[in-house]
């Protein structure tokens, strides 16, 4: 049975909105880190951008997205090999578009997953470390999914540790070149991009039932927004069916407490 948009959950709205990040990419490696980005990349590959390349989450390129969670009888359809070393070879060449979930993002897109608070030698909260953020952001397209849109994530000033670079040219010395290309930011409240003044973060659409002041109040910096603010497009029945195939165990139901609907009940 194909679900109807009326039954659509917020998770599915965000997955479909985030999939748009890869619509016009052509043949690049799509890497979605975390459940929503992974399903978003999978949805893009399974529908409007079949040219995308994707891995099984480990080391093999697959010709169709691998459903998330326990696989049962499903066997990934291998079409190539992409171990971590080759991921670096690929991404330093720029043929990749990743979507990640930083713990902090600032107005010009600098992002952090390393550590928070204190000073670097003795952080208040140690997280993962920089991982591949410096290399990813300097070399290829990047988008973000933020499950909790608030001012602790969208921070005033700069992020505590700049792991991912943003549009802050004063951080570069003369003669330094980057291929920075920050694309879409999807949160639980809205869709944004870096089309604001000097590549500042800018609002593009509000999710159904979300008010503009709610977004602005939960953003730690001045967020630009156009006069006409559309509502984020609901996924089509076909997209909902694809999402259900790509997430057969409904892991997406657990992203937020109570699995909220895409359109809040009046």
């Amino acid at each position: 049975m194909i679900a109807s948009p009326a039954e659509c959950r917020l998770s599915e709205l965000c997955i479909a909105a985030a999939a748009e990040a890869w619509r016009d990419d052509g043949e690049v490696l799509a890497t979605g880190i975390g459940l929503v980005p992974r399903l978003a990349a999978s949805l893009a590959m399974a529908s409007f951008n079949p040219e995308l390349m994707m891995t099984d989450g480990e080391a093999y390129l697959v010709s169709e997205p691998v459903p998330v969670g326990p696989r049962g009888d499903y066997r990934p359809r291998i079409e190539g090999w992409m171990p971590y070393a080759r991921v670096f070879d690929n991404l330093w060449g720029g043929r990749r578009h990743a979507m990640v979930t930083p713990v902090q993002v600032d107005r010009y897109g600098q992002s952090n997953i390393s550590c928070i608070g204190g000073d670097f030698q003795r952080p208040k909260v140690q997280l993962l470390g920089c991982r591949g953020f410096p290399g990813n952001t300097v070399h290829h397209a990047n988008s973000m999914f933020i499950p909790q849109h608030n001012a602790r994530v969208f921070v005033k000033g700069e992020v505590d540790m700049v792991a991912g670079i943003g549009y802050r040219s004063e951080r570069l010395e003369p003669g330094q070149r980057t291929f920075i290309d920050l694309r879409l930011v999807v949160s639980n409240l809205c869709v944004m991009d870096f089309g604001g003044t000097d590549h500042a973060l800018r609002l593009r659409s509000l999710h159904p039932g979300v008010r503009l002041d709610e977004v602005l109040d939960n953003t730690g910096f001045s967020l630009e927004y156009p006069e006409q603010l559309p509502s984020t497009t609901l996924p089509s029945p076909e997209q909902l069916a694809l999402i259900a195939e790509l997430d057969p165990h409904d892991l997406r139901a657990a992203i937020w407490p109570d699995n909220p609907p895409a359109v809040p009940l009046a």
Partner: protein
């Protein structure tokens, strides 16, 4: 065949010295040379610098007070995203660190492998990797572009410790999991390289052209010692033989809460013989049954 590099884990660790820079292969919660790491934990070695795609070995070495400095891009247990003992050491401010992008880490190993002082990269530019590592310098391209690039210094290792699926006594080896990670570059960057293996095999086992092309990145001349250590990656995974011991890693993570918990854990899992360790971990059959992680 006179070449014989077989050693015990204790003999390998006895060749290491205080203050050395040690590279540890594997990746996060996968194919870590844990039997060799436990031997370090039991040894009097101290003031080590470790270079790693960090997993539980980093937290254990922190907890046991073996580390002076850590060079890393991340530390994670995969199935448990954050490493509790590493976090504790960082949040106490006791660990000297060089935090890098994980691609820069392999770049530094590659520079060392080629005996170059550095390799140029764009990775790191504009990020706080430059701020928190003030020793990192830039270099200007001598060509018409005159581009300014990060000069990633060689990460030369005194020793590399790796865990592989199969090895022979001459030091040839096979990596049979889906990803060889960066073990090759740890081996090439190191003055001395020691490998532990799930299975010691006869050289004739390697007479397989298909596998030789993809599963044998480390030629034997790079290898100084071979240790037979079945289940030697536990509690990390060793595909295709066994998966990550999630329950074990959860118990280990909980011991970061206080010193006495770590002391108890250490008595049970470190200060014991390999045979006692295997029995405590549920035996060979249990480890063999640990499911491979699905990512």
């Amino acid at each position: 065949m006179p070449l014989d590099k077989m050693m015990s884990a204790a003999e390998v660790i006895a060749e290491l010295r205080d203050g050395m820079t040690i590279g540890i292969g594997g990746w996060g919660g996968r194919r870590k040379p844990m039997a060799l790491v436990r031997e370090i934990l039991r040894s009097p070695l101290r003031e080590l610098t470790v270079v790693s795609y960090g997993g539980p070995e980093v937290g254990m070495l922190c907890a046991a007070g073996k580390l002076r400095r850590l060079i890393y891009g991340f530390v994670s247990l995969d199935v448990i995203p954050l490493e509790a003992h590493f976090r504790r050491a960082r949040q106490a401010g006791t660990l000297e660190v060089m935090e890098l992008d994980e691609g820069l880490l392999q770049w530094g190993l590659r520079a060392a492998a080629m005996r170059l002082p550095f390799l140029p990269a764009r990775t790191g530019l504009g990020s706080d990797v430059m701020r928190v590592n003030p020793d990192l310098a830039t270099v200007r391209s001598p060509y018409a572009d005159a581009e300014s690039l990060l000069a990633m210094p060689a990460l030369t290792l005194d020793a590399a410790l790796l865990h592989v699926n199969r090895a022979d006594r001459r030091g040839s080896s096979q990596l049979l999991g889906p990803d060889p990670f960066f073990d090759e570059w740890f081996a090439r960057a190191a003055t001395r390289c020691y490998i532990s293996c799930e299975e010691r095999v006869d050289t004739s086992c390697f007479d397989d052209a298909q596998l030789a092309r993809v599963a044998m990145p480390i030629e034997r001349s790079l290898v100084n010692g071979v240790v037979e250590a079945p289940w030697g990656a536990h509690p990390t995974s060793c595909a295709p033989h066994y998966g990550i011991d999630v329950k074990h890693l959860k118990e280990y993570s909980a011991t970061a809460a206080d010193d006495s918990a770590w002391d108890e854990w250490r008595q049970r899992w470190v200060d014991c013989s390999p045979a006692d360790y295997l029995a405590a971990a549920g035996g060979a059959e249990h480890i063999a049954s640990l499911p491979l992680p699905v990512f």
